[in-house]
């Protein structure tokens, strides 16, 4: 028995090496003769994913899985990996789900988990080994009432971007409270730096400030606020704190904010025009191409002086789900677990440049990802608030108006309450 185990491990190792080197995998039938005497069970697994840009990486990973199954379980799995183009993905998936031809495993956006769960298309994975590996707050983004309904693949954490070199030169540390942020702003100004990059031409950019401050305030102090807003039983008056950082940022930012688009804002930030930029880590592409030597960092935007409110935003997009009607349920679950495998998962996530989201992901990510992930690992992250899109849009519009001073804080509160109420109708 021991001999068999050692042998199969060797086979597995050799196979995974072969797979990694991108060569064609040797015919599995050969290895069965080496690995075991009884003939393997033949099975098929259908997987559909919405990320064709990572086709190569997943192809390799699937081959590794096939080899592992053959070696460890003596199952000859044939995995059919499909990746329709992402603009057609949802309609293809919908058609297959309703047509009774559901793939055994498929990806979906975590925003749709509730809908798919209601339709009975998701398997509860809470009892699987993978559940304990995912960081708690990431797990929350793909869970409903404690039931883990998918394996998160692409997860993003973001807060305020800052220039580490400027911070070091000015001798300041990242802030934990609003008072810290005020101090930093003063010190930076004294040293001749502009504290904040403002790029408000596109309404979604100022909106990021409300996203972060509301997220922090609500998650840290009034967790029932969103529910009450949906029940017409709350007000923006309760979260007026959000103007603490917003006023500070607007008063200490670059000029001509309304004439600055998001891309040129990112480029100017990369050139060192300002020390901080309220913008997600998705801007890192533009920033790093503009200035490849940029030392980019991320910190959580403080809302007030309560450290519990200083949180980064954490959201998950692509999630891998197991369909409850999967013919080979045990294999489907094995694959789901293999995605967060102790040995191989880190390589996969790194190859796809996904952010680390589980304990097994011990690779060295980019500096800004590492910063944001550190907040997540410490539990200092909030799950994206689910607000009506009319409300999010309005926040962006009103912040532009607030910046050009055509409305006051009171107007903001009043109008936001109205918009939320009319969205509830």
């Amino acid at each position: 028995m021991k001999k068999f185990l050692v042998l199969s491990l060797i086979v597995c190792l050799v196979l995974s090496l072969v797979a990694c080197s991108n060569d064609a995998v040797s015919d599995p039938t050969e290895t069965t003769e080496v690995g075991s005497t009884e003939s393997p069970r033949v099975a098929e697994l259908n997987i559909m994913m919405s990320i064709p840009q990572y086709m190569d990486q997943w192809d390799t990973y699937v081959k590794q899985f096939e080899a592992k199954m053959l070696a460890e379980e003596n199952i000859k799995v044939k995995v059919n990996l499909e990746m329709p183009s992402s603009d057609q993905y949802e309609s293809v998936l919908q058609a297959r789900l309703t047509g009774g031809d559901a793939p055994d495993l498929y990806t979906l956006h975590s925003n749709n988990i509730a809908t798919y769960d209601k339709a009975g298309n998701l398997t509860d994975l809470s009892a699987e080994p993978l559940a304990d590996k995912i960081y708690d707050n990431v797990r929350e983004t793909v869970s409903i009432e404690g039931r883990l309904l998918g394996v998160p693949l692409e997860s993003q954490a973001w807060g305020v971007l800052y220039n580490k070199e400027i911070f070091a030169a000015a001798g300041v540390e990242i802030p934990k409270t609003l008072d810290d942020l005020k101090n930093i702003t003063e010190v930076l100004k004294e040293k001749g730096y502009t504290p904040f990059m403002l790029a408000y031409q596109e309404q979604w950019v100022p909106q990021l400030m409300t996203a972060l401050t509301l997220g922090g305030k609500v998650s840290g102090e009034i967790p029932d606020w969103v529910d009450r807003m949906y029940a017409d039983n709350g007000s923006y008056e309760e979260v007026i704190d959000i103007f603490g950082p917003i006023d500070l940022i607007m008063a200490n930012g670059t000029d001509r904010a309304m004439e600055m688009g998001s891309e040129s804002g990112a480029a100017e930030f990369a050139m060192g025009k300002a020390a901080m930029f309220v913008q997600g880590t998705w801007a890192s592409g533009t920033i790093m191409t503009t200035n490849p030597d940029m030392k980019l960092g991320v910190f959580a935007l403080p809302v007030n002086n309560n450290e519990a409110c200083t949180l980064v935003n954490l959201s998950t997009s692509t999630t891998l789900a197991v369909h409850p009607d999967a013919k080979e349920m045990d294999l489907a679950l094995k694959f789901a677990n293999y995605v967060l495998d102790d040995q191989d998962s880190a390589g996969l996530f790194q190859a796809c440049s996904f952010n680390p989201l589980a304990t097994v992901h011990n690779y060295e990510p980019a500096s800004w990802v590492a910063d944001a992930s550190a907040f997540v690992a410490e539990g200092k992250a909030y799950k994206d608030l689910v607000l009506p899109s009319a409300v999010t849009d309005e926040q962006g519009k009103l912040l532009q108006e607030y910046y050009v001073k055509t409305i006051t804080k009171e107007d903001f509160v009043k109008r936001m309450d109205e918009v939320f109420k009319s969205s509830n109708k």
């Binding site: 408000y200 309404q203 004439e259 849009d393 050009v404």
Partner: protein
């Protein structure tokens, strides 16, 4: 019988165009009236008939009426500015002895690119070039918040829209100017009319029909203004430069995605434009006949 036959063959010729017009223009317009009375969101298979409640809501929608007010302001300014400039250009270029074709082409060119692209080009000018001139050449009068200050944003929009529209109007005016009999001009000259008198009392009355067409066109396109504002200010800051068409667009495709309500709004816009253009055409035609 003969009459009928002639009519029938005429009908036969226009039928294909009529069918296309009916299916793609008339049907959507009429069915839009019906959707304006539902709460359809554009995606759902089911919707509820809600009667006139959407129209009642439109009456109370202050954002909508703000945008209507803005559109009126835009249309009034545009009708004057574009027509005066277009006519001026047409007269000047008509009187050139050389390079007529060159200038005609130059001024017509903006018309040949989409205003969305034109808007983005001007966005670059307003947000980068202007500030470069202000900072490096000392042209401080350019150092204005061209997108952020509602007052200057309006000027910016007018500048870009005029840039895009004058070429087209200019061509119409030039064609009309060429139609003015040379004998009339010569007669006026012999009678001792100065150039201004020549233009105002002889040429202008002769090109009134072109003025009607151009004013009608600017009115009509002005009320539907969307692309320039969308690419230049996005209706911002906030809603300060939001035209009615943008307000309708946002209602239908952004936020709460209320298709039915947005259709109700566009029906109201249609009614407003209809009334105004009828008045305008009546008034101008009277003038034309008098002349």
């Amino acid at each position: 019988m003969k009459n009928f036959k002639a009519n029938a063959s005429l009908m036969l010729f226009v039928t294909p165009a009529l069918i296309v017009y009916f299916i793609f223009k008339l049907m959507p317009a009429v069915s839009g009236l019906y959707y304006a009375m539902t709460d359809w969101n554009g995606i759902n298979k089911t919707f509820v008939f809600v009667g006139l409640s959407n129209f009642i809501e439109v009456l109370k929608d202050s954002y909508f009426w703000d945008s209507v007010l803005f559109t009126f302001k835009y249309v009034i300014v545009m009708v004057f500015v574009t027509n005066v400039i277009a006519l001026l250009l047409a007269v000047v270029i008509e009187n050139l002895h050389r390079a007529k074709g060159l200038f005609r082409t130059l001024f017509y060119m903006p018309n040949m690119i989409s205003m969305i692209i034109g808007g983005y080009m001007w966005m670059f000018i307003f947000t980068k070039v202007m500030y470069y001139l202000a900072d490096n050449w000392g042209w401080t009068f350019l150092d204005k918040s061209w997108i952020g200050d509602p007052k200057y944003a309006f000027i910016a929009i007018i500048v870009v829209a005029t840039w895009g529209a004058v070429g087209y109007l200019m061509i119409i005016y030039m064609a009309a100017l060429q139609g003015v009999p040379a004998a009339l001009k010569e007669a006026a000259l012999l009678d001792g009319a100065n150039p201004w008198q020549q233009f105002w009392h002889v040429i202008f009355p002769m090109i009134r029909h072109a003025v009607t067409i151009c004013v009608f066109w600017t009115l009509n396109s002005g009320f539907q203004v969307f692309d320039v504002i969308y690419s230049l200010t996005g209706g911002g800051p906030g809603r300060a430069t939001q035209s009615t068409a943008m307000n309708i667009f946002e209602e239908a495709f952004r936020g709460n995605v209320r298709y039915g309500y947005a259709t109700a709004k566009s029906t109201v816009l249609f009614a407003i434009v209809l009334v105004i253009t009828i008045i305008q055409i009546r008034a101008m035609q009277k003038k034309e006949q008098e002349a």
